[in-house]
């Protein structure tokens, strides 16, 4: 089993606060990994570090065995890493089909000038595959949070990535919506996509993740299958303070 | 040499007053008010008008000038910027046009010729063996009193802490119950007032001309970039860097090269350390 994405000894300080502290974990082909931890544990910061929004103070990030610390965000995305945002960030002036289409635009001025508007069919398919069938022409202001989360997912999928990092994709959703999106992810996994799912909601992750890592105060405190991790003493203490 | 030290100190103090307001507005609202330096001009001209054209006493003239510049800032926020806080492009364009509008208003009311403002305090005094006008010393003292006032306000008062909270983490601050609109109103009013004070002393230190706000504006940009947008400490330090650089250029090198060093440093800082000294 090859390690698709790996972080080693990742450390990031913001002034006096250590957000991520010597964190190491990896994700393998075909997995859905749960990145768990109480609020403020450093999960989003970890995503930002992997994406290149921040530079780590110490540590390496490896994609398919190659270090990507020096790469800029868009280069990492082109390699095959995508992410969704915890608070959806759609383009407010665009109908979501156009929003998703931007993910399919090639990073080349000449190709853009030549014009490839036929992507609309591809985008429609992706939109339908995440369950947005009759809502593709709507504007972000007209959609529910659940739908906006689907848009985020569609945008990530449209990038044709190897691994998608989902930041709190379940937060704020109804139980019904959570089940729908969960089923969606399992389906997408069949197409070869690998997911890192961040959530502080343990129940939502239960049917979904193969393996889990738990972090607290930016540091890894447990790793293993979902059941192992959930019954781990340190994890219980972190979540429930017992 | 001593002349540079003294004049540099004054210029830095005045620049600090102007740049402080500019950076505080950014810290609290994440917008830049390009007409900020124009309030300096407003304050200067209103002071001149009250004092020398109408004949009001110095204290009253100052109060009116500060009230006008503060009011202008408030009016800008309420009437122009508030609606488009989320759209920096529009804020830039509209505040820039406003700056020119204020410029023309001043030209129409008071004309384009330079005017001399009577010093606030008459006479000269000796500082370190060098003769200096008392006006300059007074300006220096008042500037630092105002700066000190701002620092105290920001550290000790509730509103000041609210300002810092908004600057550090906007969403968190709002969730904690801080009303961003009220804080914005207060911040804009204060920044306008500071600009007015600077205008009063700028006028008496140099002279009045409608284009007087151009250089201070460029310097404010350089200061906030060097010091870091949104940082008060950074602004104070950078104001002195820029102030001394300009004084040295003007007195020791070549008067015509006044803004060039500021520009060069701006670009250098942006390339090497875009956040500036203490930027957010």
């Amino acid at each position: 089993m090859t390690r698709l994405l790996e972080v080693k000894g990742l450390t990031k300080r913001f002034g006096g606060v250590v957000a991520v502290n010597d964190l190491s974990f990896h994700i393998e082909e075909g997995e859905i990994l749960g990145l768990m931890g109480p609020n403020g544990a450093g999960k989003t910061t970890t995503f930002n570090l992997i994406m290149g929004d921040y530079k780590p103070d110490i540590g390496e990030i490896l994609f398919q065995g190659e270090g990507i610390n020096r790469l800029q965000t868009y280069e990492r995305v082109k390699l095959g890493i995508a992410r969704t945002y915890q608070v959806p960030r759609p383009y407010n002036g665009l109908p979501i089909i156009e929003d998703i289409r931007i993910s399919t635009i090639p990073d080349s001025i000449t190709k853009c000038l030549r014009g490839q508007k036929q992507e609309l069919e591809e985008v429609t398919q992706i939109g339908e595959s995440v369950g947005l069938k009759d809502r593709l022409l709507k504007y972000p202001g007209e959609l529910s949070l659940g739908d906006l989360r689907r848009v985020e997912l569609a945008k990530a999928v449209a990038l044709n990535p190897r691994v998608i990092m989902l930041d709190e994709i379940f937060a704020g959703l109804t139980v019904h919506e959570i089940t729908e999106i969960s089923t969606l992810l399992v389906e997408k996994r069949k197409t070869g996509l690998v997911f890192i799912v961040v959530s502080h909601d343990l129940k939502a992750l239960a049917p979904l993740v193969d393996r889990a890592v738990v972090i607290q105060f930016g540091h890894l405190i447990a790793e293993g299958t979902y059941d192992e991790v959930v019954h781990n003493e340190k994890v219980k203490k972190a979540y429930f303070g017992m | 040499m001593i002349a540079i030290a003294i004049q540099g100190a004054l210029l830095s103090g005045l620049y600090a007053l102007i740049a402080l307001g500019f950076t505080m507005i950014y810290g609290v609202g994440r917008v830049l008010n390009l007409s900020h330096a124009a309030y300096v001009m407003l304050g200067a001209y209103v002071y001149f008008h009250c004092l020398q054209l109408v004949g009001l006493p110095v204290g009253l003239s100052m109060l009116i000038a500060i009230a006008v510049s503060s009011g202008a800032a408030l009016a800008t926020y309420v009437g122009l910027v508030r609606r488009y806080l989320h759209n920096p492009t529009i804020v830039f364009v509209s505040t820039f046009i406003l700056a020119l509008v204020l410029n023309y208003v001043v030209v129409l009311i008071w004309g384009m010729e330079t005017k001399n403002v009577w010093p606030v305090v008459e006479g000269i005094t000796l500082v370190m063996g060098h003769t200096v006008s008392k006006n300059l010393v007074a300006a220096l003292i008042v500037s630092w009193l105002c700066i000190g006032g701002v620092l105290l306000f920001v550290r000790k008062t509730h509103l000041g802490r609210a300002m810092r909270a908004l600057a550090m983490d906007r969403k968190g601050a709002i969730v904690s119950g801080i009303n961003p609109d009220r804080v914005n109103l207060m911040t804009w009013a204060i920044s306008g007032a500071l600009a007015g004070v600077a205008g009063i002393f700028f006028g008496s230190y140099t002279y009045l001309v409608p284009a007087m706000w151009h250089m201070p504006m460029v310097m404010s940009f350089a200061i906030v970039i060097i010091g870091g947008l949104g940082s008060i400490e950074g602004t104070l330090i950078a104001a002195h860097i820029v102030g001394y650089m300009q004084t040295t250029t003007t007195l020791a090198i070549d008067e015509r090269l006044r803004g060039v060093f500021a520009l060069i440093i701006m670009i250098v800082v942006l390339v090497v350390r875009p956040k500036g000294l203490f930027g957010k």
Binding site: G115 | S94, I97
Partner: protein
């Protein structure tokens, strides 16, 4: 290029506009044509500004710098007034490309570094630049640049109102259609997305710097073209004309009033402002005139930031709704 089928339909509007405007000299006196020539140049400057500031949202206050540098280079090299010590006088077909190159080169040298960084820095640097350059051009080497009076008696490309009108009109349409095609392509989409949320564009695997730089180069290139032709139409150039705030104000107001980020809007904005100022000239003098149209511009920015373009869109949508009696979904722009 760029999906010909939909473009041909929109092209018919361009063709109609070109036809109508080309025939203008047959019906109007040359004094009117001269105003139109100024308007054509204003449109060129406004469109070139819009390509950068309107689309990416990186408002450039240094546009007069680009135009002025181009103008000064071609002026200094093509006349006796410049480079007096070396007596270099080159023909226009040499000096004009050099002027354009100076605009692009100078722009890239001074403005690109600050464009790498997200935020207001680019705008601040560009404004500071203009202000400093204003003074510098007067002070530095007046023997070459003509000091604060500038350079005069420059050679013309063509003479006469009619010929100049057609020249400026062709330039205007060439630049407008060219930039319009770029804006309609995916490049334009990316630029507009950058204006809305640059981080997300970057997370979509696009190098925002590369796209911004492309927009800037186009902007500088077209500004340079406008600058050299304008200089050789006027026959002179001076710091107060080239690096002035009023010039900057005119460009910004034309674009904003017409509609930022549309390319087409500035065409109407440019004409509107030019004629507005011309007809105000006998009525209000100097500062009153500038005050008047600044206030008009401010009002439009505040009330309908999309400018004439957006207002026209609103009206068209209103008509469509009335005819069909229902709610319309907005067209994808």
């Amino acid at each position: 290029m760029v999906n010909w089928i939909t473009s041909i339909k929109s092209f018919r509007w361009w063709l109609i506009a070109i036809a109508v405007m080309s025939l203008l000299p047959l019906f109007v006196p040359s004094s009117f044509l001269r105003i139109c020539i100024m308007a054509n140049f204003m449109v060129i400057f406004a469109i070139s500004w819009d390509m950068m500031s309107g689309y990416t949202g990186y408002v450039s206050f240094g546009h007069p710098f680009l135009i002025g540098i181009a103008g000064y280079v071609t002026a200094m090299l093509s006349s006796q007034g410049g480079f007096q010590t070396t007596h270099i006088v080159l023909p226009l077909y040499a000096t004009m490309p050099l002027g354009i190159a100076a605009a692009v080169g100078g722009g890239m040298l001074f403005f690109l570094p600050s464009m790498r960084i997200r935020g207001p820095y680019f705008s601040l640097v560009s404004l500071a630049f203009l202000m400093v350059l204003n003074r510098l051009m007067i002070a530095v080497r007046p023997d070459m640049t003509g000091g604060d009076r500038g350079l005069t008696s420059l050679p013309y490309v063509v003479t006469g109102a009619v010929d100049n009108y057609w020249l400026s009109l062709s330039l205007m349409f060439a630049i407008a259609i060219g930039l319009w095609l770029v804006a309609k392509s995916d490049v334009g989409h990316v630029l507009k997305a950058i204006r809305m949320d640059e981080d997300v564009v970057e997370s979509s695997g696009l190098s925002t710097y590369r796209f911004k730089r492309f927009a800037f180069i186009l902007s500088a290139l077209t500004a340079g073209i406008g600058g050299v032709f304008y200089t050789h139409y006027m026959g002179s150039i001076s710091p107060s004309g080239a690096f002035d705030y009023i010039f900057l104000l005119n460009i910004i107001v034309s674009t904003v009033v017409g509609g930022m980020g549309t390319i087409i809007g500035p065409i109407f904005g440019g004409y509107f402002i030019t004629f507005f100022v011309e007809y105000l000239r006998p009525v209000l003098e100097g500062a009153w005139r500038f005050l008047a149209y600044s206030l008009v511009a401010l009002a439009i920015v505040y009330l309908r930031p999309g400018g004439f373009y957006a207002i026209a869109h609103d009206i068209a949508g209103w008509f469509r709704a009335k005819r069909r009696g229902g709610i319309q979904y907005d067209q994808v722009t």
